[in-house]
């Protein structure tokens, strides 16, 4: 089962910020500054948590994981005002 998560972060040091940003690109879609949307299995969620735990400063930085519930076969409404949020799916890619 997969879950949809919104991950937002507040990192007080530019070097760590870049590291967190780069790590997050491997897990989800970059929606806005410091906001990612991730469609993850439980296993991937723990992988992500483990990785982020090692990257941040535990007193100065903060990362929020907002759980939007199961993603399989369900559509979550993300409305945007202004620029459109491109829809991204897990699927085979052919170039």
């Amino acid at each position: 089962m997969r879950k949809l998560l919104i991950v937002t972060y507040d990192i007080s040091n530019p070097k760590r910020l870049r590291k967190v940003f780069k790590a997050m690109k491997g897990f989800g879609q970059h929606l806005q500054l410091s906001v990612f949307r991730c469609d993850l299995t439980d296993m991937e969620r723990f992988e992500m948590i483990g990785l982020l735990q090692g990257l941040i400063h535990h007193d100065e930085d903060q990362i929020l994981l907002i759980d939007l519930g199961a993603s399989d076969g369900r559509t979550h409404r993300v409305d945007s005002i202004g620029r459109v949020v491109p829809r991204e799916r897990r699927e085979p890619r052919i170039f």
């Binding site: 089962m1 997969r2 780069k22 790590a23 690109k25 491997g26 897990f27 299995t41 439980d42 296993m43 991937e44 969620r45 723990f46 992988e47 948590i49 483990g50 735990q53 090692g54 399989d72 897990r90 699927e91 085979p92 890619r93 052919i94 170039f95």
Partner: protein, 563 residues
Amino acid sequence: MPDLDPPLVPARMLNEFVYCPRLAILEWVDGEFAPNADTVEGAVRHASVDRPGYRVRLRQRTPSDDPGADQPARAPIEQIRSVELSDAGLGLIAKIDLVEIDRDRVQPVDTKKGKRPHVERGAYEPERVQVCAQGLLLRSHGYPCDSGILYFAGSNERVEVPFDDELVALTRSKLGELREAAGAGVLPPPLVDSPKCVRCSLAPICLPDETRFLRDAGSPPRQLLPAADHTFPLYVQQPGATVRKDGDLLVVFDKDEKLGEMRIREVSQLVLMGRVSATEAVYRELLRLGKPIVHLSSGGWLAGVTDGLPHANVRLRQEQYRTADDAAKCLRIARWIVVSKLTNQRVLLRRNGGDEIPESTIEGIRHAAQAAQRAETIDTLRGHEGNGGRLYFGHFAALLRQSPFRERFDLEGRNRRPPRDPVNGLLSFAYSMLSREWVTTCRTVGLDPFLGFYHAPRYGRPSLALDLMEAFRPICADSTVVRAINNGEIGPTDFVERMGSVNLTDGGRRKFLRSFEQRLAQEVVHPVFGYRLSYRRVFEVEARLLSRYLLGEIPTYEPMTTR
């Protein structure tokens, strides 16, 4: 060859063996491992205890620590993290999370990610045996050790496990049993309808309920494996394209123009077709993750697979080779394969051909299947396969609803090398893609894709993959071709014709790959097990069931047929 230096049993394996003997043998002897949420969460929670270190901390003493003694209220306790110990006499090895030394008392502490279970003796048997094994190791190294601690991180509670005579005897006897089971060369039977299987990360490999169901019948299996996939292939076929790695992304470039990207985590395999390339960083990362890189010509001809080390399950490959040498066994497997293929061909014609297919054709294919079931030699079997195939392809054009494909389809049936009309071109390409999929499935499961039972091994031909795909030619390849044409996903402009041979254009290939992938992601109700799963998952289950048959666990291997 005698094993002069028997391997040491890891204490962790002893835990698994007490939990489920089959699990321990699958992991330890056959080298099967599949992480899942529980194992990854465990690793994350373990990260801090796995770092070697030493510290002294103060702990409140309770009167029971030292009855009658006049001690200060707080006393130092030494803690050593990540202690690796082994002992050849015991035949054990363990990496102990934490060893606590309180003056002359030494205790191993094992961290568990969950909450403390409310059971007799404070913890389940596998964990108690594991920490006892750690204690025995400490003892054999000369430390006085008569109890251990299980620390449950989920509820932040410590449970003391006394190493009484009963637990020590149990630990020693389980150690002996594990050794014996590992040496016996057979897999212990699966647990029966056990709630333990539901959270077991190896359930999709072990297939406990399916194995039991095919062996002894009884109640249908629970669905312990996920219906759909979380990872997918990345195909690169645009001539001149290059794949590069950027962090956790694979990025595809055409010269300096970025065509797109995919997260490595979501990639199951990288398929490189024709004149494309990938950087060393891409290769290295995919190999590290155990994800294959498949090399094909632009027409889909398999040139090779870049893969890491071969699968550790040597016993399975040995059985595969032994079986391939046994003509009678080969014939039996070949019959199952041909019968399933003919059955599926008949179903596809009957379902999609409507009135245009004469009843005599449908019956003819059925008779071919019945005759194949009784074939006494591989040659007569091939004859029945050919008879059925001629009837099938003789009426295949009736399935196509779109001119000009239909008119041009050769009524003599299949033609290839090179294909002379668009439909035959598509069929050839679809079969290449299907055989590639089966090659990677065989490798995942630990089978050698190049030695089959029906198709003769020939240079560069993945015979086993060809065997296993037979039943799926009609339902995964032919049906995809029919649908792509009938839905207009593929049109006449997607082909180029040169000197009598017909090939897909780059764009046509891309469109067809998309249709093919849709088909593999489509979920079907498994006719025997009764649960839904995608065709790609079906392939993996089939390959694992063949392994179970080869290892003698189930009496037959009959490929999936649709109704």
